[in-house]
Amino acid sequence: MQQSRNRKVLREKRGRFLGSFYAAIIYAMFYIPVLVMIQFSFNDAKRNYSWEGFTTAWYGKLFSFRNHDLWEALVYSIIIAVLATIISVVIGVLGGIGLKKFQFRGKKFINLMLYVPIVVPEIVLAVSMLIIFMTIGIKLGMGTIVIGHCTFCIPYAVVTIKGRISGDNDTLQEASMDLGANRVQTFWRVTIPSIMPGIMSAAFLSFTLSIDDVIMSNMLASARQSTLPVLILSVNRTGITPDINALTTLMVLVMVFGMLIMNFIQRRIAAKEAREIAESEKRISAMSEHG
């Protein structure tokens, strides 16, 4: 008995080690190119054809703010990505739940439409949207880019959220309503927390898609401002310059920092909610004792 338990512990340990090892390999696959990219931001060459030696000159150039094109493009891209993420996640969460829960005429059609932006090469939607916007006289700019991005982010958000929802949500919701919560309360207190990992995934996907988009951004942009990926692809004609590596490196650092702050806020909120729940539970048990 003792022996078999030991063996089990051993096996679990080994399993955990193998799991971590495997995860490390996968992470390496994602981080190696980023590290190489960071390394080449210190490349002492006009263009990144090969490694020529170490310099921090590119960061110097960046912080002299002489080339504000890059900075403006970066800020513009981030604002667009944040807006597109917020809109897509809100519509995606509502839509994911709604399309799963309700039966209505045209639902199949909407479901099919959701696949269109995923499958059709972006240029097709981009060109047709451009023509339509020009025809009805919508001015191109940040708004049109955000609309374009949301159009392909929403399907990703909906599909991810739907993958998270299943039958047991209904039971939970019914229980919540039976206990006297109204629809809105149930939505905020039960439905949303139960699909939180799905929401998080949807937000990550939307942000990632938007911050990296070239085609929609290019077609639907006004003359005033390009996004960073558009600028990078354009420079790629003759080879990436290390200042772009430097900017991308900074961008990653800023985002990591932002994520850490968000994480901190989230944990504060979670702690607060946990306290509230504990209190209300106490009250409920007090009430039931009283009853």
Binding site: R47, I86, I131, M134, R224, I269
Partner: protein
């Protein structure tokens, strides 16, 4: 959570307001072109001198400007960069404003050999690029003196090439002794068969300069500007030479500015065009952008270093052909180009 969210939204709104407010102060000139293709100083000086703000936005592909123009979004811009191969369609399609050259007196500096009469009314050439063959004297197995050398079996796995139907087919047509802008389906078909052999020798399309510097290829069919970058990168170790072609002509393409139909700031566009045609201004611009230039006065005023650049060191500069608009025949080219790449 909700509070954090609304704070975030408010911040974003503030940011975007800041950007638009900043942009609305001065007169604006909106230009759509390649990035990294005009000197920052030139733009800054122009802004100071004429008290305007220049908004540059960038294309990723020559097709981008065509798509924008044909989709009706041209009027968003005051100047758009495109190349000579599309001019006929753009003019006939009515997508461009006709130019009044008297408003661009400096345009007299541009060599008329590079600026066809028909195009003069609609565009101003900016820079130009030869698409020629360059090889590494140490690593390339053979000396290359004509396009037919590129399909010799020794060249297998040696070539890097630019892409696109209208860049590839002309060299095949020339190698076969036809008009590089042929509209004859049989000739195009023969060119396709030539290109199948070429394709077998090609390692990769695109990134030619990176590949030749890193040693993945020893010969490239590419633009002079990319060659200049590659040679500069190799520095003292440069063993690249422009292939000494004996009789085959090379393609000379132009990047040019057009004013799209309905442009909002025609006057500023004229001022800008006149400004960049000024020999001194253009000569300074050539330091950052060492490409071939149709502005003879500017080339004369340019630095010794620019004029003696190894990427321009070849003696058949006048044995050239232009990429003409082939009209509907483009679909034939496309069909064979697809066959080439799908197999």
């Amino acid at each position: 959570m909700k509070k954090a969210l609304s704070l975030l939204i408010a911040l974003v709104m503030l940011f975007s307001l800041g950007i638009t407010a900043n942009a609305a102060e001065r007169k604006e000139l909106n230009i759509f072109m390649w990035s990294d293709y005009i000197s920052d100083d030139l733009i800054a000086d122009f802004e100071d001198q004429f008290d305007v703000r220049v908004n540059l936005s960038y294309m990723n592909d020559n097709a981008d400007s065509i798509t924008k123009l044909t989709a009706g979004a041209g009027s968003e811009y005051d100047l758009i960069m495109t190349c000579d191969a599309y001019m006929e369609s753009l003019i006939n399609g009515g997508y461009l404003e006709e130019l009044d050259l008297s408003q661009i007196p400096n345009s007299a500096n541009i060599n008329k050999a590079y600026w066809s009469e028909q195009n003069q009314g609609y565009c101003v050439p900016y820079l130009m690029n030869y698409i020629y063959v360059v090889y590494d004297t140490e690593r390339c197995p053979i000396e290359i003196t004509c396009y037919n050398d590129l399909i010799r079996p020794e060249m297998k796995g040696q070539i890097g090439s630019v892409d696109g139907a209208r860049n590839l087919f002309p060299i095949a047509l020339i190698a076969l002794g036809y008009d590089p802008n042929s509209r004859d389906e049989n000739e195009i078909k023969e060119a396709y068969e030539w290109l199948v052999k070429y394709n077998e020798n090609v390692v990769a399309y695109g990134s030619t300069e990176t590949n030749i510097v890193s040693g993945a290829i020893s010969c490239m069919f590419t633009y002079d500007g990319n060659t200049a970058e590659a040679m500069a990168q190799l520095g003292e170790n440069n063993t690249l030479v422009v292939a000494p072609f004996t009789s085959d002509p090379v393609q000379l393409g132009f990047d040019l500015y057009v004013i799209p139909k309905g442009a909002q700031h025609m006057d500023l566009a004229y001022q800008f065009l006149n400004y960049i045609c000024d020999p001194e201004v253009m000569a300074a611009n050539l330091v950052d952008n060492p490409y071939s230039c149709p502005n003879d006065a500017a080339v004369a005023a340019a630095s010794e270093e620019y004029r003696n650049g190894p990427a321009f060191d070849f003696d058949y500069k006048t044995n050239i052909f232009f990429q003409e608009d082939v009209g509907d025949a483009i679909t034939i080219y496309d069909q064979y180009y697809q066959m080439l790449k799908v197999g």
